[in-house]
Each structure stands twice: as structure tokens, then as C-alpha cells.
């Protein structure tokens, strides 16, 4: 089953009279339960693609389909609902809310879904348990390490049971050891059925996925299947 699909997707940034074509004619399909790498050098349009399929931004052309519905033409309110229900984001710089405790950060997406507080707490508890951070739940983000913050971000992305997780350079701010832990976590989650899009410029990181889509200058140049992805242990 196709979870997410783009058709001839294009994005042109324009300021004043200068136009930058960040994405051109990108058509990709992501199946339920896949772990897919999106790879390319810096400036190749990876983040632009993530922002579009994550409904944070609108394409200049083409279509985006998520869970069988077309979403690129929805209004702001409905895009917010798609983000709320279908997409889980993991950013390079974690993007946790510094004033909220770990558990409250994880609960945040559920608040915007209108989940009652006792259920919120229960679900957030479960996810933190799953990623092994339960004992840190009452800490503020500033009181835990970068790797732990990224795991909290992952928990926040997972708590709503989204159709897929978008991780944009999730190891970019981490040392290689903690980076590997995050990748292993993503692999484990994928084994448990979660669909993962792992965006990276790093060949080594991309080789942990089962399929790598190569981007260059905003276009897909290769769709490479990896029969034996690296497994972190």
C-alpha cells in the first residue's frame, strides 16, 4: 500500500526577481512499512522535499498524496490536521519546546488532536518507555543530552501513530556513536511497522535503509534498492 506519493513535484523559491528551482519534477512513492533514505549533497533539495511532503510548505507544481488523499490543495486548517494525524517530524536540531518537560513535549501533538489528558499521559508514557527515556520524563530539554533530546523528538513524532516519520538529518548534530543509536532506534521502529523517511547527505547513514532515493539539483537521479542494509547493534 502506498502511504505517500508525489507526482511531478516542483518548488521554486523566488525573492525579488531571482528564482531558485529547489525541486523539479519529483515523483516518488513510499510504501507502508518501508524505510527509505533520501540522499543528496547539501542544497540538492532534500529539506524542501521534506517540508512539502510534511505539509509545512506548499509546492509550486505537482501533487502530493498521503494515505490515499490528495493534500497539496488543502487549506491551512486541513493541512494542520494532516500534520497532526499523518506526519511525524524529527528535525536536525530536535526542536523541543524548552519550557515544557520531556513528557509534556511528547504529549504536545495529542493536545492538538483533542485527546483527553489521562489518555495523553498514558500514550506519552508508553512511547517514552519504548524509546527508553521514561526515567527522564520530568526533566526539561536543557537537562538532557543531545542524543536524549533527539529521542524525545522521536517519541513526540511517534505518539500520534502517524502514517510515516520524516527525519531530516536526525544525526546531524550528534556524535557518531549517539547518531548510530538514533539510527538503530529508527530501524527498530521500522521493524515494528513504522514507515520511515530518512533524509541525509551521509552515505553511511543512508546505507542503513532498504532503498535510497538520490537527489541532485532538485531532481531524482537514482532510485537504489539496498538488499542488505547495515544493521546497527
Amino acid at each position: 500500500m502506498i502511504v505517500m506519493e508525489t507526482k511531478n513535484l516542483g518548488k521554486i523559491y523566488s525573492f525579488d526577481s531571482i528564482k531558485v528551482t529547489a525541486l523539479n519534477n519529483v515523483s516518488i512513492q513510499i510504501n507502508q512499512g518501508e524505510i527509505v533514505g533520501i540522499m543528496g549533497p547539501s542544497g540538492s533539495g532534500k529539506s524542501t522535499l521534506m517540508n512539502l511532503v510534511g505539509c509545512l510548505d506548499r509546492p509550486s507544481q505537482g501533487e502530493i498524496w498521503i494515505a490515499g488523499s490528495r493534500v497539496d490543495n488543502l487549506n491551512d486548517n486541513n493541512l494542520a490536521i494532516i500534520r497532526s494525524k499523518q506526519v511525524g517530524f524529527v528535525f536536525q536540531n530536535y526542536n523541543l519546546l524548552p519550557r515544557l518537560k520531556v513528557i509534556e513535549n511528547v504529549e504536545l501533538p495529542l493536545i492538538y488532536q483533542g485527546v483527553p489528558s489521562h489518555l495523553r499521559r498514558k500514550k506519552a508514557d508508553e512511547v517514552l518507555e519504548r524509546i527508553g527515556l521514561k526515567e527522564r520524563m520530568h526533566h526539561k530539554p536543557s537537562q538532557i543530552s543531545g542524543g536524549e533530546q533527539q529521542r524525545v523528538a522521536l517519541a513526540r513524532a511517534l505518539v500520534t501513530n502517524p502514517s510515516f516519520i520524516l527525519a531530516d538529518e536526525p544525526t546531524g548534530n550528534l556524535d557518531s556513536k549517539t547518531g548510530k543509536e538514533i539510527i538503530k532506534l529508527l530501524q527498530d521502529l521500522n521493524n515494528g511497522g513504522v514507515t520511515v523517511l530518512l533524509i541525509t547527505h551521509d552515505r553511511f547513514v543512508a546505507e542503513h535503509t532498504a532503498r535510497v532515493i538520490h537527489l541532485k539539483d532538485g531532481e531524482v537521479i537514482e532510485n537504489e534498492a539496498l538488499p542488505n542494509p547495515i544493521r546497527e547493534v
Binding site: 517540508n51 510534511g54 509545512l56 510548505d57 494515505a67 488523499s69 491551512d76 486548517n77 486541513n78 494542520a80 490536521i81 500534520r83 497532526s84 494525524k85 517530524f89 528535525f91 526542536n95 523541543l96 519546546l97 519550557r99 504536545l108 501533538p109 493536545i111 492538538y112 488532536q113 483533542g114 485527546v115 483527553p116 489528558s117 513526540r156 500520534t160
Partner: protein, 414 residues
């Protein structure tokens, strides 16, 4: 695909979460937010305190006017047609403006011819009272025996001026309670006191009556009005109090008085005031006063509101990234709008409540200094409603700015 829970459930949840966020955000910037609230605090403090002083004064004045008796007509000199509203506001007896023909014994005599009323003349002036080696400034009032009844004076001991006008020529005095205790050492009857160096025999003492809008009633001395006129060397009378048996007679008696006095004075150069008129006038004055004070307080609320708007715009700018994160995890425009609007309302409301608190303390302090003030329920409600409205008005624009941020722009903000 089920996109949303029921609207009301979602809304309720958001408010409790939002309140938590708002409180944590406000407490994380205590100084800044307190300074912002200060504008609203001062505005509400001013409104509530001013209105309560106005209300207190009104209640006090009304109590005293009512204490004068419902069926009294105050006759004073002056031309009613030439008087402006502001000149009319003074208490009876302030008729001594320049160029005004004063009331005299002749007018008093003439009024005595009217049937079924009681008439008492009043002449008031301050004087120096001394006894043994003690001296004090007192209010000397020349009147006659009818005043005891008209003004319902409470006697402590002795008697009031009791002789008829023709016979009341002896230098006798009835003294107020404070003079009795502080100057005569609570032993006054038949003692001789000196008023402006003239000896008077004390024939009566009044019970404690307290402070009125005309001064300390317990520092008052009553003497026969003809004696007072002798001392002043004229026949002038400040006010003539006329009391009628029932309120229904007031209008007809006023007509009679007008006829009689016009006849004797030639023109209508006198003024008749009743209690209900005085109540009406004080009502108007205090209403105007409140309006003016309300205007001043309104301006300070406006300034406070602008302060809130300013700080909210700063807060939105500082928290752009937070807004982006919230939108990324599913917050809709209205979720963000509510968050910032509630924060503004909360700021204004806390300022308002603090203002109320200070106003309450202020009114207690004022009471200690004998300034009447009364915080009414309506002034509390008005203060709270006003600060909420200020929060909404000045919070809407910053909240709208926050809500309208594009998620991707907000997330990229450094």
C-alpha cells in the same frame, strides 16, 4: 479517515493546556510582565478607587441631607434666576455672595404669619470660645427654640434655647459634645464661657453627633439669634429653616413663602431649597465627577492596553520558533490565536485583579482618614470586564500575527 474530535471537547482541553503554557510563559518573564501589568493595575486602581470615593461621598452626603429632615425648606438670600448650576450646589446658608440682599428679622417675622409651619432662623459664623485657660475655634450658630425640633438635636443635659424670640436676649449657650468634654472637662451647666470675649452661661449640652459636611457638629455652640445679631451689629439671618408637617404640603408652602417674601422684599431675591433638590444636585455633581474620573482612568487603561500589545508583539517575535514547532505537530491557526489571546487577557486580568486589590487596600486606608469610600459590587465587575476587554482588544492583533505565521517560515526563524 477521522480528522477531528468534537469541537467542544477539543476546545476545553486546549484551554487548560493553554492556561498552563500562559502561566509558565508569564512567570518566566516576571519582571517584564509585571511592568506590563502595571499599566492596567494603575488604571483599574484609579477607576475603582475614584468611583468608590465618589460613591462613598454620595452615600455620606445623602445620609446627611436626609438627616436634615424630609420636610424642611431652606430659605436663603440670592436671586435664583441669576444663579448658575454650580453656585446652587452649595449647602443652604451660603447665600452671602456679593451684591445679595441678606435675609433679616423682617423676613423672619413675615414667615411667622404663615399658618401650620415651624420657622427657625440660623446665623452661622466661627468664633473663639474660651474657658479658664483653654481656647478653641468653634462654630457659633444663632437660632431659637424651634431649631431643637426641626433639626432633632439630641440633648445630653440641661435644656436647649427655650425662650420666645422677644425674651431670648440673655447670653445663654448650648454647647456641643466635644467642647463639653475637651474644654469644660465634662462639667458645664451654669458655667460661664467666653465667646469672642463675651461671657455666656452654659444652659445645655448636646450629645455626640459627629462630623457632617458642614463641619464638626460637636464643636458647635448655639446661642439666641438676637444675641448673635447684637454681636454682629446687624439684623441679618443666614438661613431660615421652615418645616412643614408632611411632604405633601411642601409645594403649597413654598408658594406661600414666595408670595410673602416677594411682597416684603419687592423682588424674588431669595431662594428656596428642599431636601429632594439637594439630593438631586449632589447626584448630578457626583455623576459628572465620576464621568471625568472615569475618563482619566480610561486613558490610563488605554496606555496599559498599548503596553500589553507591545509586550505581546515582542513575545510573538521571541517565540516564532515555538509557534513553528506547534504548527508542525498539528496546531491550527485558531489554536495559536487562542494561546496568545488568552495570554494577553490573562495579563490584563491579573493586572485588573491586582488593581482591585490595591484599590481595596486604598479604600481601607482612606476610611482611616475619614474619607468616605465604598467599593461596590458593580465597580468590581466593571473593573474585571474592562480589563478583559482591554486584553482582547490589544491582544487580538499580536495573536493574529502569531496565528498567521507560515509554519515553515516560523520553523526556520533564528
Amino acid at each position: 479517515m477521522r480528522l477531528c474530535q468534537t469541537q467542544s471537547e477539543r476546545c476545553k482541553l486546549n484551554i487548560s493546556h493553554t492556561l498552563k503554557i500562559v502561566i509558565s510563559s508569564i512567570s518566566s518573564n516576571k519582571t517584564r510582565n509585571f511592568l506590563t501589568m502595571l499599566g492596567i493595575l494603575i488604571g483599574v486602581f484609579a477607576i475603582v478607587l475614584m468611583v468608590s470615593i465618589g460613591e462613598g461621598v454620595r452615600q455620606e452626603v445623602n445620609k446627611q441631607i436626609e438627616g436634615l429632615g424630609a420636610n424642611i425648606i431652606f430659605v436663603t438670600s440670592g436671586n435664583p434666576a441669576q444663579r448658575t448650576e454650580s453656585q446652587r450646589m452649595g449647602p443652604p446658608g451660603m447665600g452671602g455672595f456679593m451684591g445679595v440682599t441678606p435675609l433679616t428679622n423682617q423676613d423672619h417675622q413675615a414667615l411667622l404669619t404663615i399658618q401650620g409651619i415651624k420657622v427657625s432662623p440660623l446665623i452661622s459664623r466661627s468664633g473663639i470660645l474660651s474657658y479658664s485657660d483653654l481656647t478653641d475655634t468653634v462654630q457659633v450658630t444663632g437660632t431659637n427654640y424651634t431649631y431643637l425640633e426641626i433639626a432633632s438635636l439630641p440633648l445630653l443635659e440641661g435644656e436647649f434655647l427655650s425662650k420666645t424670640d422677644e425674651d431670648a436676649l440673655d447670653k445663654e449657650a448650648v454647647i456641643g459634645y466635644r467642647i463639653y468634654t475637651e474644654i469644660l472637662n465634662s462639667d458645664a451647666l451654669n458655667k460661664t464661657v467666653y465667646i469672642n470675649d463675651i461671657p455666656f452661661k452654659v444652659i445645655g449640652v448636646l450629645k455626640e453627633r459627629g462630623i457632617s459636611m458642614m463641619g464638626d457638629q460637636d464643636s458647635e455652640v448655639f446661642i439666641p439669634f438676637k444675641v448673635m445679631q447684637d454681636m454682629a451689629n446687624n439684623e441679618n439671618i443666614t438661613t431660615i429653616n421652615v418645616s412643614v408637617d408632611s411632604q405633601d404640603e411642601i409645594e403649597s408652602v413654598k408658594k406661600e413663602i414666595t408670595t410673602v417674601l416677594k411682597d416684603i422684599r419687592g423682588t424674588e431675591n431669595f431662594r428656596l431649597t428642599t431636601q429632594s433638590q439637594m439630593l438631586e444636585i449632589t447626584g448630578t455633581i457626583i455623576g459628572t465627577l465620576n464621568l471625568a474620573l472615569g475618563g482619566i482612568a480610561g486613558v490610563s487603561l488605554l496606555v496599559g492596553g498599548i503596553g500589553i500589545m507591545n509586550i505581546m508583539l515582542v513575545s510573538v517575535a521571541e517565540r516564532t520558533r515555538e509557534i513553528g514547532i506547534r504548527k508542525a505537530v498539528g496546531a491550527r491557526r485558531k489554536d495559536v490565536l487562542w494561546q496568545f489571546l488568552l495570554e494577553a487577557i490573562f495579563l490584563a486580568l491579573v493586572g485588573g485583579v491586582l488593581g482591585l486589590l490595591f484599590a481595596y487596600i486604598g479604600s481601607l486606608v482612606l476610611k482611616n482618614f475619614d474619607v468616605p469610600s465604598a467599593i461596590t459590587f458593580s465597580s468590581i465587575v466593571i473593573a474585571l470586564i474592562f480589563s478583559t476587554i482591554i486584553g482582547v482588544i490589544f491582544g487580538v492583533y499580536p495573536a493574529y500575527r502569531a496565528a498567521s505565521l507560515e509554519p515553515i517560515v516560523a520553523l526556520r526563524y533564528e
